[in-house]
Amino acid sequence: MSHTTVLSVDDLTVTVGTRRGPVRAVAGVSWQVRPGETFALVGESGSGKSMTLLAATGLAPRAATVTGRVRLLDTELTALPDDRRRKVRGRHVGFVFQDPMTSLNPVLPVGRQVTEAAEEHLGLTRRAARDRAVELLELVGIPSAARRVDAYPHQFSGGMRQRVAIAMALACEPDLLIADEPTTALDVTTQAQIIELVADLQARLGTAVVWVTHDLGVVAGIADTVAVMYGGRIVEQGPVDAVFDAPTHPYTRALLAARPDPSRRGEDLVAIPGSPPSPLDLPPGCAFWPRCPVRADPRCEHELPPLTTVGDGHTVRTFYRGEAG
């Protein structure tokens, strides 16, 4: 593959009209995924992770206004009319969601569903599609795939359903796999299976992956690059080692510090006071300011901190300059 980026998102902003006025769900986020790379988007609920991905791929709800530019491979997605965008997306992007039933039809055999999109986009015959379905189900580790190709979703466990959803997302051999909290509803044991599966498929097929999660452990295990979202913005972004070794935004630091540490059992956890902000009333400055244990600068409260580079590919949006270490 000759592209330097598979997906490139530039200054994406999403405003959603609600009964209580316009809500800015995502504000000026920029990021890229390179071929074969895993990009993790981490943040708490409502921080704008899903909306970022939906808007980037042209799937934002009707009530949303999206600005900014998104390029998928050679195509400027944001410049395309809806039907063309749908085609390009269908051909190059696969989606996996938290609840596999979002993508699965309960009354259709899984085999038919897995290749439904491929029939359309790759022009497969019914017969070829069935063979391909068995192949894909085998690829994602469904035991006795040839027999289970005619089974219905309810005949599979949650973890197996998620495998089927992944098979479906891979049917068109996408350049990009977007997985929105694909393991959040699963047991850790099943989560480990899905993580291994995706890593293995990625190594074999060279697919780029965007993985949304709120679990810092999952990020550490899968990501090459990570972006931390808070209040609709990316507050810190960089290579996974840099962000975990030298977290710079007070929010990233606080999140990492709040995790239980077995060597400090019996001590209080370093909790973050308060709760994540509602996008209906975001503060004018740094969205983390009301809960921030640092409040490094008088400007934090009223002024949006600029994006600053603190290392190779490592950027943060904070006035805080940190202490050494």
Partner: protein, 344 residues
């Protein structure tokens, strides 16, 4: 409280809870013995469907036992009627995962917290009740004026604090915490864990802490019990369970937990269990874990192993317990990768 077991608050004795369903009898809890000791936090972990919640509900007699006994504060309550249970002071209270679902949306927070006070006649007058509600709100770190608000006006963390206040209202000996932090935002989970520990210290509470998050369970618990398919397969202190797990299931479960350290993650080897937890309608013969166990041998299909001591205060139900060592806490084990023998 019986004289021979002075420190046990509540106890399940070879308990079975079976549910008849169209697909057959679900053996949700299938021979569990568990004693919760006064003042401790007993952590209960295991995969989804292993029977944790059902065991917790049995302690409150919110499900009917099929066999075995339930003892609370020394009394055998196995066969008590709903009426008798209601009329007696609640020795056991429960906090649920989803505070939204466990609070009545049409009642104010104050009314929800006051309900146990009314049912158990724990406040002599309206004024006394109001004062007690304010006191309970203060205990869980909420302002007194929260009493007049409705659940939907609160954040998830605040709602969970209300759930805890309501559980405290009946002055229970034991609180069953069923996934109390699972629905909360990451940044709020630590607040609730701290709150629970402070309340325990200040009020001398006893907890059964049910959770998926093994790091949280390690942090909170004095003792851990690991469930698999309706059985307890291992119990012991956290240092033993997390560093020297004796049951291959515990080892696999721990090795699956991701740690927030990219270097550790790159180095580690997971014991990836193949297949899913078998159906509780038709559990495997012999050891229930054998169909997914990387160490299973022919004998495992023949013998159903009982819990047996493998170390001080440490029991495991395995014919061939592990004696290896994992270094570090959750997820830090450098266990070898092995594929399980087969799937159910």
């Amino acid at each position: 409280m019986s004289a021979d077991t002075p420190d046990v608050v509540a106890e399940l004795d070879d308990l079975k809870v079976h549910f008849p369903t169209p697909a057959g009898t679900v053996r949700a809890v299938d021979g569990v013995s568990l004693a919760v000791r006064r003042g401790e936090t007993l952590g209960l972990v295991g995969e989804s469907g292993s029977g944790k919640s059902t065991a917790g509900l049995a302690l409150l007699r919110l499900v009917d036992p099929t066999a075995g006994r339930v003892r609370v504060a020394g009394a055998d309550v196995t066969l008590w009627s709903r009426r008798r249970l209601r009329a007696t002071r609640r020795h056991v209270a429960m906090v649920f995962q989803d505070p939204q679902a466990s609070l009545d949306p049409r009642r104010t927070v104050g009314d929800s917290i006051a309900e146990p006070l009314i049912v158990h006649r724990l406040a002599a007058s309206t004024a006394a009740r109001r004062a007690r509600v304010a006191e309970l709100l203060d205990l869980v770190g909420l302002r007194a004026d929260t009493a007049g608000r409705y659940p939907h006006e609160l954040s998830g963390g605040q709602r969970q604090r209300v759930g805890v206040a309501r559980a405290l209202a009946g002055e229970p000996d034991l609180i069953v915490l069923d996934e109390p932090i699972a629905s909360l935002d990451l940044s709020v989970q630590a607040q609730i864990m701290n709150l629970l520990r402070h309340l325990q210290r200040d009020l001398g509470l006893t907890y059964l802490f049910i959770a998926h998050d093994l790091a949280a369970v390690e942090h909170m618990s004095d003792r851990i019990a690991v469930m698999y398919l309706g059985r307890i397969v291992e119990t012991g202190p956290p240092e033993r369970i997390y560093r020297h797990p004796a049951h291959p299931y515990t080892a696999a479960l721990l090795s699956a937990v991701p740690v927030a350290d990219p270097r550790v993650e790159r180095e580690r080897r997971r014991i990836v269990l193949t297949g899913d937890i078998p159906s509780p309608v038709d559990p495997p013969s012999g050891c229930r874990f054998r169909t997914r166990c990387p160490q299973a041998r022919p004998a495992c299909a023949e013998t159903d192993p009982a819990l047996a001591e493998v170390g001080p205060g440490h029991d495991a139900a395995c014919l061939f317990p592990l004696d290896g060592e994992r270094d570090g806490g959750v997820g830090e084990g450098a266990t070898t990768r092995a594929d399980a023998a087969g799937t159910a």
